[in-house]
Symmetry: C2
Subunit: 336 residues, 2 copies
C-alpha cells in the first residue's frame, strides 16, 4: 500500500494483500463501497480488473494507450469491447493526472484522469509494468541495454564469470535479431536452467524469444481469450518488412458443436519473402492456446503458405475442417 | 442396416439411421433392451461407443488389436483404461467369429468373439475403416497403390488430364516420403481446392501429410482426449530411424488452477539427427489440440531440442511454465 487504498501489483505479498482487501467488507467500521480503479491495460491490469469485477467491485480500467497494447489496434479494440461487455468501464488513451487522498484518514478518494474526468474510488490498483532490477550490476559497472536490462550473450553470461537470468535481462528477439524486454516466467525458467548448466562448465544456449503471450478475461457471461506471438504490424514495418495482414473470424469447433466459440485471427506476413511474422488471436473459450502453433511456425521461420498447408488436427469438437488459424493464413496467402 | 440391427457407419444416412435407432424405445412393440456391440477400435468405433453409452446403451467395444491402434501400445492402453472407466466394456485383440441372427425376426441376437465369448446385443455397430472407392479408375486402367488408392502426383493428377482428391487417393507421408492412406476431411478439402485450381491451369501442389489426428471420448465423469501426429515408434523404427521415446505426464494448466487436467505426452525422436518424428497425447480436457504445435514442428523438420526451447505461451489457466509437450520434449532431449 503506497498510500491508503493505492496498491501496486508486483509480488506475492501484494497478491495476499489484495486477497485480504477484496474479502473485507469494512475498513475501520466504515463499509467498503467496493469501487476500484485499475491503472494499466496490460496483462496485470486486465487480470486485476477481472478479479475486482468478479468480486463485485464497480471497476474502472484506465490505460494510457489501449487495452493489451501489445496487440495491433484492431485486435486490441476487440479485447476492449469484450472487457467492457464484461462489466469493466474501460478508459483508453488516458493517464492519471491526480490521485485525491483524504486528508483526515489518508485514504484514496478518487483518481483524476488526463481527460479531466474524476473517478471516485475506494482502491486503486497500479499495474504499470516492470523495470529490470539492475542496481547491483550498474554499481559494478556492467553494461546495461537501452531498455534497462542486462545484455547476456547466448550463454546468459553478462561479463566474464557473471551470469544473469530472468526479468533483469533483455532477450534477443529471434525475428528482428535485437535485444528486447520480455519479462516472463517461461524465459526466466529456461534461462535459469541454462545458467545452472553453464556455471558448472556446460555450454547451453538460450535461443531467444518470439514475444509469445496469452491471457484471458472471464466475467459473468463473458469469456475472452487473447494471445499473440511474433511481431505486430507496426513492429514488423519498423523492422523493414513489407507487411501484409488480415483478420479472419472463424470458429473453434464445427458449426454444429455446442462448444463452438468465435476466434478472430490476425496474420501478419512479409510480402517479399512470404515469411510469417506474427499472429494475434482474440476469441472465446479454447481459442488462444492455438497461438503455440503459430509460434512453432515462427520458430522454424516458415511461410504463411506453410501455415496454410500444414497437417493440423481436425475433429468436430476441436476445430473446423480448415483450422481457424490455418484458414486465416490461407486467406492472407491468397491475396499476397 | 446389413441385417436386422447390424449397421455400418459410413455416411450421413447411416448417422441419421443411428440417431433414429438410439432415440427409439421400442421396435415393433418390443422394448429395445439397449445393448450395443461396437466393432472396431478406431476413431469411429470409439466415437460410436461414446454415443451409445451416453444414450444409456450397455456397450461393448470389440477391436481386433487395440483401442486407437494408431497410437503406440502404451498410449493406446491409457485410452482403453479411460474408455473402460467411462462405462464401455472394451475387448481387445478380438475379432468377430459369428453374428447370431434370430431366424424368426431376422434381428441380431448376439456377437461371438474370436475369444469364444458370446456378447448378447440388440444392435451392432461396424466401424471397420474405409477403403478407397476406385472401381471407376480400376476399370479405366489407372494405376492403383498398395493400399488400394489412386496415386496422385503433387498436383493431384493421377493421369494426363485426370484428377483425384479425397479418400480415394493415397497421400505422401512427408516424413517417410512414401504413399500412405489417410482418409480425412482436412486432406480431402485441401486437395479439392488444389484440383480446382489446377484443372483450370493452375499449378498448386499438395505438400503431403503428417498423420495428424484427434478425437475424444466423453461419458459421465470421464473426459479423455487423444491426438497423434507423425510416426509412431514402430513406424519410425521400420523407416530406419534410431528411435528414442519417452512418455511424460504433466498438466494442462498451473497446479492451482481448477481447470488443470492431466496430459500424457509421448515424444518420439531420432537419436542420430535429434529430429522430432512423432508426438502422441492422451489427456483430459484442453489437452489434445496441443498436437498442432507438434505438427508444426514436424512440418518444419525441426528437432526435439527446438520443441523444448521454443517460445510457447504461458499463463496459469492455459499451461504450466514449461508447457506440457515442451517439458516432455526437454526430458527426452536430456537423455538423448
Amino acid at each position: 500500500e503506497l498510500v491508503g487504498g493505492v496498491h501496486p501489483v508486483k509480488d506475492l505479498d501484494h497478491a495476499r494483500h489484495w486477497l485480504d482487501l477484496v474479502s473485507r467488507r469494512a475498513r475501520g467500521g466504515i463499509a467498503i463501497r467496493r469501487r476500484a480503479v485499475v491503472v494499466g491495460g496490460g496483462y496485470i491490469g486486465v487480470e486485476m480488473a477481472e478479479a475486482m469485477v468478479q468480486r463485485g467491485f464497480s471497476t474502472t480500467l484506465l490505460t494510457r494507450s489501449a487495452v493489451m497494447s501489445s496487440l495491433d489496434s484492431d485486435m486490441s479494440e476487440r479485447v476492449r469491447e469484450t472487457v467492457q461487455a464484461g462489466g469493466v468501464d474501460v478508459i483508453t488513451n488516458t493517464t492519471i493526472a491526480d490521485i485525491d487522498i483524504d486528508s483526515v484518514d489518508g485514504h484514496v478518494r478518487s483518481v483524476t484522469g488526463s481527460n479531466g474526468q474524476v473517478y471516485p474510488t475506494d482502491v486503486v490498483v497500479l499495474g504499470l509494468g516492470v523495470h529490470p532490477a539492475t542496481e547491483l550490476g550498474v554499481a559494478a559497472g556492467l553494461p546495461i541495454g537501452e531498455r534497462g536490462g542486462y545484455l547476456p550473450n547466448e550463454r546468459q553470461e553478462v561479463a566474464e564469470g557473471v551470469w544473469a537470468a530472468g526479468d533483469c535481462c533483455e532477450v534477443i528477439d529471434r525475428i528482428r535479431g535485437k535485444y528486447v524486454l520480455a519479462p516472463l516466467g517461461t524465459h526466466a525458467n529456461k534461462q535459469g536452467r541454462i545458467c545452472g548448466y553453464n556455471t558448472v562448465g556446460g555450454s547451453h544456449e538460450f535461443p531467444g524469444v518470439l514475444g509469445t503471450a496469452i491471457t484471458r478475461f472471464v466475467s459473468a457471461g463473458t469469456h475472452v481469450e487473447v494471445a499473440r506471438t511474433g511481431l505486430g504490424s507496426r513492429e514488423a514495418t519498423e523492422a523493414g518488412y513489407d507487411v501484409e495482414s488480415l483478420v479472419t473470424v472463424g470458429g473453434t469447433a464445427s458449426g454444429y458443436m455446442p462448444e463452438r466459440s468465435p476466434i478472430a485471427t490476425k496474420i501478419i506476413a512479409d510480402r517479399r519473402t512470404r515469411r510469417l511474422l506474427g499472429v494475434q488471436i482474440v476469441g472465446g473459450a479454447q481459442s488462444a492456446k492455438r497461438i503455440d502453433t503459430a509460434a512453432a511456425v515462427l520458430w522454424g521461420e516458415m511461410s504463411v503458405d506453410d501455415l496454410a498447408a500444414m497437417d493440423l488436427s481436425y475433429a468436430p469438437p476441436f476445430a473446423t475442417v480448415w483450422e481457424a488459424i490455418q484458414l486465416a493464413a490461407r486467406r492472407l496467402s491468397d491475396r499476397m
